[in-house]
Amino acid sequence: MKRESRRFVVRARGPMACFTRPEMKAERVSYEVMTPSAARGLLEAVLWKPAICWHVHEIAVLAPIQWTSFRRNEVGSRASPKVRDFHVEERRSQRNTVALRDVDYILTCSFEMTGRAGPEESVRKFEEMFERRLERGQTFHQPYLGCREFAAELEPAPSKFQPFQPEVERPLGLMFYDFDYAPGKGAPARPLFFEARLNGGILHVPPREEVLRANGGGP
C-alpha cells in the first residue's frame, strides 16, 4: 500500500509573524524565515488525524524580510489543571517582541501514513480531504504564523510564483526543526536543529532522519 502522499503546494501569508528563536524566547526575536515546525502547525490546522504525519520539504519566501518591534504584556507562568485561580493581572510580565511584517510563503509538503492508520484508511482519502478543506478554507482552528495572535491566511498556491530575491544565497544559521517527542524513556522532548539556508529564495528542509542523525542519533 502507498504510504506517502503526493506533494501539495500551499500559500500562507499574514500581516505579522513571529517564529521565536529558542535562545531568545524570553524576549522574543523571530527567525528570518518560517520554521518547518511552524509550517507543520499550519498544515495541521487544515487537516490532521492520528493516521497521518506532515512533512515540509520547501518553504519559498515571496515577500522581503521586514522587521518590527513592540512591547506587550505577556504572562509569566502557565495555566495548568493544577493551578487554581489564575489571575493574569498578578502574573504579568512585560516583554519585547521583534517580529516579521507582511510575510508571504509558499510551502511544499506531503504527509505520510503513521502506524496508527486503520486498515480501511488510504492515502488517497486524506489527499482528497486536504484538497477539499484547503479549497473551502476549512480549518480545525485558526492557522497562525508562529504565535497564536498572528493569524495566517491559507490558500492553494498559484501555479506560478516568484520567490523574493531568487539570486541570493544566504545562510540562516542553525534553525529549530522540530521536537523529538520520543527521545527515550522519561526524558523530556528534545529540540532538533538543522543548518538552514536560503537558496534562490527557497528554504530546503532536510528529511527528518537526516536531522535526527545530525542531532546525535535517532531513536
Binding site: 528563536r21 529558542p22 535562545e23 531568545m24 524566547k25 524570553a26 524576549e27 526575536v29 528570518e32 522587521w67 518591534s69 513592540f70 512591547r71 505577556e74 504572562v75 509569566g76 507562568s77 502557565r78 510580565s93 512585560q94 516583554r95 519585547n96 521583534v98 545562510p171 540562516l172 544559521g173 542553525l174 521536537f179 526524558a187 523530556p188 522532548a189 528534545r190 529540540p191 532538533l192 536543529f193 543548518e195 545530525a214 542531532n215 546525535g216
Partner: protein
Amino acid sequence: MMLQALYALARDRGLLEDTDNEEHAVHFLLRVDAEGRPLALESTVDEKGRGKSLRIPRLPKRASGVSAGFLVDNAKYVLGLGNPEKDNPERLKLCMAAFQERVAGMVQATNDEGGRAVLRFLEAREQWLPVVLSWNPREAWSGDEYIAFIYAPDEVRCVHERESVRDWWRTERAREEQEGHAARVRCLVTGELAPPARLHPSVKSVPKGQSSGTSLVSFNEEAFCSHGLEQGANAPVSRAAAEGYTLALNWLLARAEGRRYRNGVALGTGAVTVFWTRKEIGFENVLSSLFEAPDEQRAVEMAQAPLRGLEPAELDSTLFYAATLSGNNARLVVRDWLETTVGAIKNNVRRYFEDLRLAGAQGQPLPLWKLLKAVDPPGRAELPPHLGTRLLSAALRGHAFPRELLAATLQRLRVPPRDGDSSSLHVRIALIKATLSRLPRSGLPPLELSMSLDEKNTATPYLLGRLFAVLERMQFAALGSTNTTLRDRYFGSAMAHPAIVFPQLLRLSNHHAAKADEKGFWLERLKNEVCAGLPARPFPTTLSLEEQGLFAVGYYHQRHRFFEKRVTDSEPTAV
C-alpha cells in the same frame, strides 16, 4: 544568526584565548606569608573609586544562592564582611565556607604552597580579622570589594596566577562542565555536540538592565520553558559558545577610547545599538564616532574622510551587523537586529546625513544624541521608548523615518522656545526635513526638499511657512525685541489651522508695516511676493502632519534667509 555572529567576533578578535579567566575589578590585594599571617592589605582603588582590572578565575553566575569564586571574590565571601543591615550572618558564614571549600579542594589536589598559605589564612580567619580591620576599618567595608591574594614570596604575582593553580583551575572547569550533563546535544551556535550551558554569563552595562548584569539567553519563569526542559536546555548552547558570545557583547559594550561604548551608540537613556563587521576594518569606530560624536568637529572629519569612498571597494562586501539592545530587569532585550554589508551601510549613512543637511549652523552633521534630545517631550526627561531605536534603524536601512518622529518633533516645535534654545530649532527642522524627504512617494506630491530657501517651491504649506517668517520679521522690525513674539504665540495654531490664524496676522502686519520705516517697505514687498504664489483660496482650514512639516521647513528657510542676508549685507561695509 546573532549568537553565531557574536561568537565569530569573539573568536576572530582573540577574546576566546583564555575563557577560564575573566577581566574583573579587584579592589584589594591581601598579602599573606606561608603561615597564613596577613602582612599587608594593598588598595588598588583609583581616584574615581574604581578597582584595578585584573584577570581572575571566572566567577560563577550568581543569583540569590551562595556560589563562591575561586581564590578571588568579594569581602562577603573572603572575610565575611557584609553590609551589617542587609546581610544575614548565617548566610555570610555559608559564603565563607563555600569560598574556603574551593581553596581546600585545590590545595588537596595540587599541594601548592601559595594555595596552602591562603587556606591557612582562611582557616584562622577569626584570629586575623582584627589585623585586617586595623588596616581598613569595619565601617569602610560594604561587602562588594573584591579581594585577591598574594603569597609573600611571589612579590607581585597573585596566588590565582601560579602555574599549578591555573592548571588545576582549567581541569576543574572541564570537570564541572561534564558533571550533571550526561546528555550531549547539538549546540545552537557552533553546531557541535556538547552539554548545554545551564546558565549563561552576564552582559554588563546595558541601559535599563540590572547593574549586576543581564542575560541574553535566560529562562527564569516557567512560561519561557517548553516540554519540561529546564534552564539552558531550552536553547542548547555549549558553555564555550555561551561564554564566547557574552565576551563579544561585553567587549562591544565596554567603555573605550573616550566613548561610552567601544562600538556602540546610545539611543537616549533606554537603549544602545552596537555594531561590528565580519572582518576587522575599523569601520565600526568610524560609525560610532559619526553617530555618537563627542564633539562635532570630529563628526565632520569622520563624515568627510572615510565615507567618501577612500577605502578600497572590496571591503564594501564585508558583512556588517547591528543589534539594538536594552535591559528589562535581569534580561537583555534585542530590539532590533540588522545584517547587511558595509557598502550598503556606507550608502545609507551618507544619505542619512545628506537628508539631515540644512542651511545654518555651519552645515555640521548632527550627532544622534542631539537629534533625540531635540524631540524630548517638554517636562518629561525621556523620549518615547522606541523612537530612538526606530530612527537609527531607519537610518541604517535607508528606510523612511517613523511618522511618530514627525509628530513628536512638530509637537515640540509648538512649545514656545526657551532662552538659549535657538540651536534646537535648526535640529528640529533638520529632522522634519529628513523625515519629509524620505516619505514613501506613493500618494503624496513629490517632496524635494532643498537645504536652503527654495523660491520655486509653490506648495501652499511651504509658502505659508515662509509668510509666517516674513510676518514675524515685520513684527521685529516694528517693535524690536518683545516679550512674546508672533512665534511664541501663534506658531502652533498657524501651522495646524492657517485659516483661523492668518487673516488676523495679516491685519496685524499692516500696523507693523506702518511702524517699521523703510525696512517695512521691503518686507511688505516680500510679503506680497509670497502671497502671490498662494492659490485663490489661500488658507486651508487644517494641515496634515506632513503639510505641517513642510510649513515648518518653509518657515525655517525663510527665516534663515533673513539672517544670511544680514551677514552678506554687513560684509561690504566690513571691507
